[in-house]
C-alpha cells in the first residue's frame, strides 16, 4: 500500500511522466492475472484519453463478473485508480467497485482497506461521494462484522465535515445504514471511541444544505427501521424541521415525527408558552394535521397518509379534524374546555351557509381562540377539499383507517365521506365508496345520508355503481323509509342500466337479510297486495319484480311472520326462483308447504352442520375401508362420489370441499384420466395449500408410472422405453427435491417406496424398472387427503355475449369485428395471467386471446370481472354460423412450486412464469352468431 501512496504522491507532482509509467506497468501484470481482469487491464492501458477509458469501463460494466474473478478485477481497477487523474474515470471506477462488491458469493472485506485508503487521498467531492457509496455497499454486504462496521462509521464521521453536500449526504446514509444499534458497544482494541450515532446524525438536522438535512432525517428513519429505538429528544428537533423552507425536509420530518409518536405515544410533552402538557401522540397528531395545509402537495400527501395510522390519538383530537370551527385551544383545553364548547355552539365565525351571520359577535377572550396552533382543527376538511386528488385520496384512506378503529369517529366522518361521492375525479369517488363499505359495520346511515348515497346510483360509470351496490350490501339502514328509498332507487338504476341486474339482485339480497323487520311493514305495498281484491299476477320475468322478491324472500328468512302476507302466486314464484336463482333466494320454512330442501335449519352454525358431518363420515368411511376387495372399494368410491356431488349441489358452502373430495376419489378410480384431473385440482381451486399440492403431484407421479407400464406393455421396441424411463426417473428426482419437507407425511406411499428403491432403479434396465413399478403401484396405499381450511372452486360466467341473439354479427371478411365480452370470475388467483378467452370457429379453428391486465376489475375479495373486447375475423362464409366463446384457465404446474429454476428436468428457463403448459375450460361456452361477408370489389 505504501508503494501505492508513494506513487500517488509522485504522480501529483509529475503529471507528464505518468502515461509512460502506465505502459510499463502493463507488461508486468499481464501474465499473472486471470483472463477477465487481464482483458480489462489491457483495455484500460490502451486508453489514450479519459473518454476512451470511460468507454472501456462502461463496456466492462455491462458484462457480469464471476465471484472468483472479482478480486482480480478489483485489484486492476484499483491499480488504475491510483494512476488516473481524471475525476470522471475515477468516479466510474469507484462506482464499479461498489457494483462488484455486491456480486453474490464475493466477500468484499478484502477490498475495504483499499477503498478506505483511496478515500483518504481523494480530492474530488464527487468521487468521494461515490467511494462512500461503495463503502456502503461493502458494509451492507457484511452486516455481521462489527469491526468493519465500526470502522466504516468512523470513516463516515470523519468526512461529515466535508464542504460538499454530496459527501455529507453519503456519510449520513452510511451512518444510517451501518451505525451500530447498541449504544454501549465495548471499545475495541484499536481504541475507536464509541460513537453515539443518533447524536451525530441529529446534529446535521440543522445543516445549511436542505439535501443534507433530508439525508440526516432519512438516516434517522433508517436507524429506526433497523430496530434502533430513537430518543424522545429527537421529537423537538423534528418539530422544528416542520417549518423548514424545503419541502423534502418537511416531508421527511413529518415521517420522523410520526415514527417518534409511535414509539412514545404516552409520554407527556409540554405545550410551549404555557404550563400545560399533553400526550406526545396527540401533540404529534396536531402537528401532522397542521401539515395537511402545507404549501407543498408532496408534504400534504405524506401528512394525510400518516394520519391514518395514528390510532392511539385521543378521540377529542380526532374529532376536531372534522370541524374547522371548533377553536378549542390546546393551551387551555383543560381549564377552558367548556368555554371552548360554548364558543363552538355560539359560532364566533360564520359558516357561509346563511346570509348575514358573519357580523362579528361579542368579543371573545383572544387567548381562547387560536386559528393555527390548534392544528388538528379541520385537517380532514382541508385534506378532503384539497386541490390535488392525490391528497384527497390519501385523506380518504386515512379517514377509513381511523374510522375503522373508532366507531364514534366513523359516525362523524360519514357526512364527509358522503360528500366525497360527488368528487370531480372518479378515482376519488370510487375510493370513498370503498372506504365507506369498509367502515359500514360501525355505522348506520341516516335517511338524508342515504339519500345522497343513493343519488350516486345514477352515475354513468359502471365501476361506481357496482361499488355502491357492494356498499349497500353491508349498510345498516335505520328506517323503513330508508329501505323503501333504497329499493326505489335501485329499481330506477335497474331501468336506467339493465346490465346492472345481477349486481342489484345481489345487493337486495343482503339488504333484505340485514333488515327483516324494516322490510316487513313494506311487504303489502311492495307486492301490491290488497286485503280484499286479488291483484294481477306480475310478470315473472320482469327483473324489477324479481328484485323486489329477492328483497322480500331474504327478509322472510329470519322473519317467520312475513310469509303470511304473501299471496298465492308469490309462493309459486318462490318455488320457481328458489330453483332458478338459488344463490339469491334462501330456503324458507313456509307454513303448510313441504319443500324439497328445507330440511336444513339456517340457524345451525356451519361447523355443526349435519351435512358437514355427513361429508366427514363418508370420507372417513372410504379411508378406513380401503382394504376391501377391489370390487367393493370401487363401488364404495362410486357411491361416495355421487353422494359428495349431490351434497355439493345442495349446500353451496360445502360445494368446494365436497367437490374437491369427490374429485380426489374419482382420481383413485380413474387413474388413466388422472393427468387432466390433477391439473384441474391444482389450478381451479384457490386456497389449496402445499399439503394438497404434494398429494396431487404424487398422484400425477403414480399416473405417470402407470403410463410407463402401459407403454411398456404395448410398445414393441426398447428404444422409446429408455427415454421414457429416464424422464420418469428425472421426475421422481424432481418431486423429491421440491417436496423434501413433506416427504415424512408420505409414509408408506408409492413415492416413499420408490425413493427407497431409487438407487436400484437408476441402474436397472427399463424392463426391470417397469416390473418394479408395477409391483409398487399394487402395493402402494391410499393417501389421506387433508382438507384445506378454505377452498373455493374457480368458476366463470359469461354475462355478455348472452348467446340469444338471432341476428348475426355481420362484418367484411378479412377485417375484424370487436365482440364485447363481459364475464364474472370467482376465486381465480391472478386472473391477469391465467384467464384466456377462447374462440372456436365452425371449421375447427380455435383462437386463444389474452385479455389485457387492465380489463380485469376487482369488485370484491375473490371476485373479478372481465370486461374486454375480442376481435373476430374469418374468411367469407356463405351463411351465418355460430362461433363458440369460452373462458380458459391457463396453468403451468411449475409456476406454483417455489424455487423452480430447474423444473421439468431443467428444460424450462426463465420463461417459466409466462409459458402455458395447458388450459382448463372453466366456463360454459356461449354461441355467437356471426357472418363474415365477402368484401365488395
Amino acid at each position: 500500500m505504501a508503494a501505492h501512496l508513494k506513487k500517488r504522491v509522485y504522480e501529483e507532482f509529475t503529471k507528464v511522466v505518468q502515461q509512460q509509467q502506465e505502459e510499463i506497468a502493463t507488461k508486468k501484470l499481464r501474465l499473472t492475472k486471470p483472463s477477465k481482469s487481464a482483458a480489462l487491464h489491457i483495455d484500460l492501458c490502451k486508453a489514450t484519453s479519459p473518454a476512451d477509458a470511460l468507454q472501456y469501463l462502461l463496456q466492462f460494466a455491462r458484462k457480469p463478473v464471476e465471484a472468483e474473478s472479482v478480486e482480480g478485477v478489483v485489484r486492476i481497477l484499483l491499480e488504475h485508480y491510483y494512476k488516473e487523474n481524471d475525476p470522471s474515470v475515477r468516479l466510474k471506477i469507484a462506482s464499479l467497485l461498489g457494483l462488484l462488491s455486491k456480486t453474490a458469493g464475493f466477500s468484499p472485506d478484502c477490498i475495504m482497506d483499499d477503498a478506505i485508503n483511496i478515500l483518504q487521498n481523494e480530492k474530488s467531492h464527487q468521487v468521494l461521494a461515490q467511494l462512500l457509496d461503495t463503502l456502503l455497499a461493502i458494509g451492507t454486504k457484511l452486516p455481521d462484522n462489527q469491526a468493519i462496521q465500526m470502522r466504516l462509521v468512523d470513516v463516515a464521521c470523519k468526512h461529515l465535515t466535508d464542504t460538499s453536500h454530496g459527501v455529507r449526504n453519503k456519510c449520513l446514509q452510511l451512518l444510517g445504514n451501518l451505525g451500530s444499534l447498541e449504544k454501549s458497544v465495548t471499545k475495541d482494541a484499536e481504541g475507536l471511541a464509541v460513537r453515539d450515532v443518533q447524536k451525530i446524525i441529529g446534529d446535521y438536522f440543522s445543516d445549511q444544505d436542505p439535501r443534507v438535512r433530508t439525508a440526516a432525517i432519512k438516516a434517522m428513519l433508517q436507524l429506526h427501521e433497523r430496530g434502533l429505538k430513537l430518543y424522545q429528544t429527537i421529537y423537538t428537533q423534528a418539530c422544528k424541521l416542520l417549518s423548514d423552507d424545503y419541502e423534502q425536509v418537511r416531508s421527511a420530518a413529518v415521517q420522523l415525527i410520526w415514527v417518534v409518536s409511535q414509539l412514545y405515544p404516552e409520554s407527556i410533552v409540554p405545550i410551549p408558552s404555557s404550563n400545560e402538557e399533553i400526550r406526545l401522540v396527540d401533540d404529534a397528531f396536531g402537528k401532522i394535521c397542521h401539515m395537511v395545509s402545507d404549501g407543498s402537495w408532496v408534504v400534504r400527501v405524506q401528512a394525510s397518509k400518516l394520519l391514518g395510522s395514528m390510532e392511539q390519538v385521543s378521540s377529542h383530537f380526532l374529532e376536531q379534524t372534522l370541524d374547522k370551527k371548533l377553536m378549542s385551544d390546546l393551551r387551555r383545553k383543560r381549564t377552558a374546555h367548556e368555554r371552548a364548547k360554548e364558543l363552538y355552539t355560539s359560532g364566533e365565525f360564520s359558516s357561509g351557509r346563511k346570509w348575514g351571520d358573519d357580523a362579528p359577535k361579542e368579543e371573545v377572550d383572544t387567548g381562547a381562540v387560536n386559528l393555527i396552533e390548534s392544528g388538528a382543527c379541520g385537517a380532514f376538511v382541508h385534506g378532503l377539499e384539497d386541490e390535488m386528488y392525490e391528497v384527497r385520496i390519501a385523506a380518504v384512506e386515512a379517514l377509513c383507517m381511523l374510522a375503522q378503529s373508532s366507531p364514534s369517529f366513523a359516525e362523524k366522518c360519514l357526512d364527509f365521506l358522503v360528500d366525497m361521492f360527488n368528487d370531480e375525479i372518479e378515482e376519488v369517488r370510487l375510493q370513498s365508496i370503498h372506504t365507506m363499505r369498509k367502515i359500514s359495520n360501525n355505522i348506520t346511515l341516516r335517511e338524508d345520508q342515504l339519500d345522497t348515497v343513493l343519488a350516486v346510483l345514477e352515475d354513468s360509470s359502471r365501476d361506481i355503481r357496482e361499488a355502491l351496490h357492494e356498499l349497500l350490501c353491508c349498510t345498516n339502514v335505520s328506517t323503513k323509509e330508508g329501505i323503501h328509498l333504497a329499493l326505489v332507487e335501485l329499481l330506477k338504476n335497474l331501468t336506467k342500466y339493465p346490465t346492472d341486474r345481477d349486481s342489484i339482485w345481489k345487493c337486495l339480497k343482503f339488504l333484505g337479510s340485514r333488515h327483516p323487520t324494516l322490510v316487513l311493514p313494506l311487504v303489502p305495498e311492495l307486492l301490491s297486495t290488497h286485503p280484499f281484491f286479488d291483484t294481477a299476477e306480475p310478470d315473472m320475468d320482469d327483473p324489477a319484480y324479481i328484485a323486489v322478491l329477492v328483497l322480500i324472500f331474504n327478509a322472510a328468512k329470519t322473519c317467520p311472520t312475513m310469509p303470511a302476507l304473501f299471496s298465492d302466486h308469490t309462493f309459486r314464484h318462490y318455488a320457481y326462483l328458489r330453483d332458478s336463482l338459488s344463490h339469491l333466494v334462501p330456503a324458507l320454512r313456509l307454513p303448510g308447504r313441504k319443500l324439497v330442501s328445507s330440511a336444513l335449519s339456517p340457524n345451525i352454525m356451519p361447523h355443526e352442520d349435519p351435512s358437514h358431518q355427513f361429508l366427514q363420515q363418508s370420507l372417513e368411511r372410504v379411508y378406513s375401508l380401503q382394504h376391501l376387495d377391489p370390487q367393493g372399494t370401487q363401488e364404495l368410491l362410486e357411491f361416495t362420489i355421487r353422494d359428495l356431488q349431490r351434497l355439493g349441489e345442495l349446500q353451496s358452502e360445502l360445494a368446494g370441499v365436497a367437490d374437491f373430495s369427490a374429485t380426489y376419489l374419482r382420481c383413485q378410480l380413474l387413474l388413466i384420466k388422472i393427468m387432466e384431473e390433477t391439473y384441474k385440482m391444482e389450478f381451479m381451486y384457490s386456497g389449496v395449500e402445499n399439503k394438497q399440492v404434494v398429494i396431487i403431484h404424487h398422484m400425477r407421479l403414480q399416473a405417470k408410472a402407470l403410463q410407463l407400464i402401459v407403454t411398456a406393455r404395448t410398445a414393441r421396441g426398447v428404444d422409446p422405453l429408455f427415454g421414457m424411463c429416464e424422464k420418469f426417473l428425472q421426475e421422481v428426482d424432481f418431486f423429491q427435491r421440491c417436496f423434501i419437507a413433506d416427504l415424512p407425511h408420505l409414509q408408506d406411499s408409492f413415492v416413499d417406496k420408490l425413493l427407497d428403491l431409487m438407487p436400484r432403479l437408476m441402474t436397472s434396465k427399463p424392463a426391470e424398472v417397469v416390473k418394479i413399478l408395477h409391483t409398487m403401484l399394487r402395493q402402494s396405499t391410499f393417501l389421506h387427503l387433508p382438507l384445506p381450511e378454505q377452498i373455493h372452486k374457480a368458476s366463470a360466467t359469461i354475462i355478455e355475449p348472452a348467446g340469444e341473439s338471432d341476428n348475426p354479427l355481420r362484418f367484411t371478411s378479412g377485417l375484424v369485428v370487436a365482440l364485447d365480452v363481459d364475464a364474472t370470475l370467482e376465486h381465480v388467483q391472478d386472473p391477469q395471467s391465467t384467464v384466456k378467452v377462447q374462440v372456436s370457429y365452425p371449421d375447427g379453428q380455435a383462437q386463444m386471446i389474452h385479455p389485457k391486465p387492465a380489463d380485469f376489475r376487482n369488485p370484491g375479495p375473490g371476485r373479478h370481472r372481465l370486461i374486454t373486447q375480442v376481435y373476430l375475423s374469418h374468411t367469407a362464409w356463405t351463411e351465418p354460423c355460430q362461433v363458440e366463446v369460452r373462458l380458459l384457465l391457463a396453468y403451468n404446474s411449475s409456476s406454483r412450486i417455489p424455487k423452480s429454476p430447474w423444473i421439468e428436468g431443467g428444460e424450462m428457463s426463465s420463461q417459466v412464469e409466462t409459458s402455458i403448459e395447458g388450459t382448463i375450460p372453466f366456463s360454459k361456452s356461449v354461441k355467437v352468431y356471426i357472418m363474415p361477408k365477402p368484401a365488395r370489389r
Binding site: G295, F349, A455
Partner: protein, 498 residues
Amino acid sequence: MPEIRVTPLGAGQDVGRSCILVSIAGKNVMLDCGMHMGFSDDVDDELEIKAYYAGHVLGAAMFQIKVGSESVVYTGDYNMTPDRHLGAAWIDKCRPNLLITESTYATTIRDSKRCRERDFLKKVHETVERGGKVLIPVFALGRAQELCILLETFWERMDLKAPIYFSTGLTEKANHYYKLFIPWTNQKIRKTFVQRNMFEFKHIKAFDRAFADSPGPMVVFATPGMLHAGQSLQIFRKWAGNEKNMVIMPGYCVQGTVGHKILSGQRKLEMEGRQVLEVKMQVEYMSFSAHADAKGIMQLVGQAEPENVLLVHGEAKKMEFLKQKIEQEFRVSCYMPANGETVTLPTSPSIPVGISLGLLKREMAQGLLPDAKKPRLLHGTLIMKDSNFRLVSSEQALKELGLAEHQLRFTCRVHLHDTRKEQETAVRVYSHLKSVLKDHCVQHLPDGSVTVESILIQAAAHSEDPGTKVLLVSWTYQDEELGSYLTSLLKKGLPQAS
C-alpha cells in the same frame, strides 16, 4: 432610515373600491388601479415583480414587489380553497417586509366546500324535478364558470335533461377565454383536457330573452350578480311570483340592491313606477364567493411569513377582529389604515457583502460541526468601494490597497519573586504553563525562552533586586486574548516547587 409607506386610496376599510399607493425604497408603486389602454409603462430596472397564482378568477395573481432586499406582497383577491375550475392560491416562503392582504371574509370560517356544493346541487335538482325554474344571478367571471362546471358535470353524471342557459354577452366571451387558458385551471380540467375541454359545455346553451317565458324546468345563469339591474333582474321579476321557482344567490350583495333585500327576508319589493313585486319564489343563499376566509387568510400569512401585515378590502369592524388574531397568532404587527391614512414601516434592509471564497473556506475549515445557533467570529477586512462591500482577508486587503503590514506587539513585564537563576525560573515557568495550558503548544527553546503558540516569554534578572526575576512577555495583536490571559496567569505567581 429606510422605510415602506403605504397609503390606501380606495381600498382602506372599504369593500367596493380599490387602489393602494406603496412607496418602497424610493420607488412609488400604485396597486390595483386599473390600467389605461394605449399607455405603456416603463418599469424601473431595480424593481422586481413576481406573480403568484391566486385562484380567485382565471388569471388572478398575487404580486411580490421587490427592490433590493425590501419587498411587499399584494394579494389582490385570492382564494385558498380550490374549486371546480381553479386551484388554490399558493405562495412560497418569500418573507416579505409587508404583506397587504384582502380581508373580505375576515370573520368567516366556511364549512367544507363540499357541503355547500352538495346543498346547491340538491336544491337545484329538487326544484328542476318538480318542474320549477332556477335563477342564479352571477357576475360574468369566476363564479359563473365554477357553477357552470358544477352543474354540467352533475347533469352529465345524472343524465338530466332540463336545459341550462347562461346569459349571452360577457359570460360567453369569458367562457371563450377559459377555454384558451387551460393551464391556469385546476388539476382535473388540466388532466382531462386532452379528451375534452371542460369548458365546451354540452348541456349549457346561450340564453335568449324568449326562453324566460317557455314552460318547464330550466336553470339560468344571468348577470349581474346582485340583482340590481339588467337581465338577472328582468328574469327575477318574471319568475318571482311562482313558489315552485327558486333564486340562488351565490355571493355577496351590497346593501341597497334587490339581492340584499330579498336575502334579508323582504317579501314585497317596490320596483320603479310604484309597482310592488311580491316574491313567492324560494330564496337561497350559498356562499360560493371565491375569497379566502379567515382561516385561509391566516394560512396565507403563515405560508409567506411576512414581517408586517396590512389589511385592506374589508369592513373596519371585521378587520379589527382579524387584526387581533394575526397579531396574537404570528406575533407580527398588523395594520388596517383607512383611505388616505399612511402607514410607515421602518425597514432594516440587509446589505449584501461579498466575501472572498478563500477567506470563507478558511473560516469554515476551523469549525468542525455546523451549529446554526452559535454566532461565529470571523477575522477579515471590510472594503467599501463604489457602493460595493467586500469582506476579504487582511493580507489581501493590504495587497489591494498597497499598504505594508504593521506588526503590533504588546510587551509586558511581570515581576516574580524568585531567588533562583534565570534558567531555572524559565524552566519553572515552562513546567507551570505546560501543566495549565494543556491545549496549547508550550515549548522551551534552547536559548532559555519559553513560547506559548507565538507568545514569547523570557526571564531576566532584576537589575536591582537579585531576589526578583523579571518575566518579559511579548505577543502580537492577533494573540491578544491568549496574551492577556497569560500575563494575568503569571502575575498570580508560580506554584511553590515541591
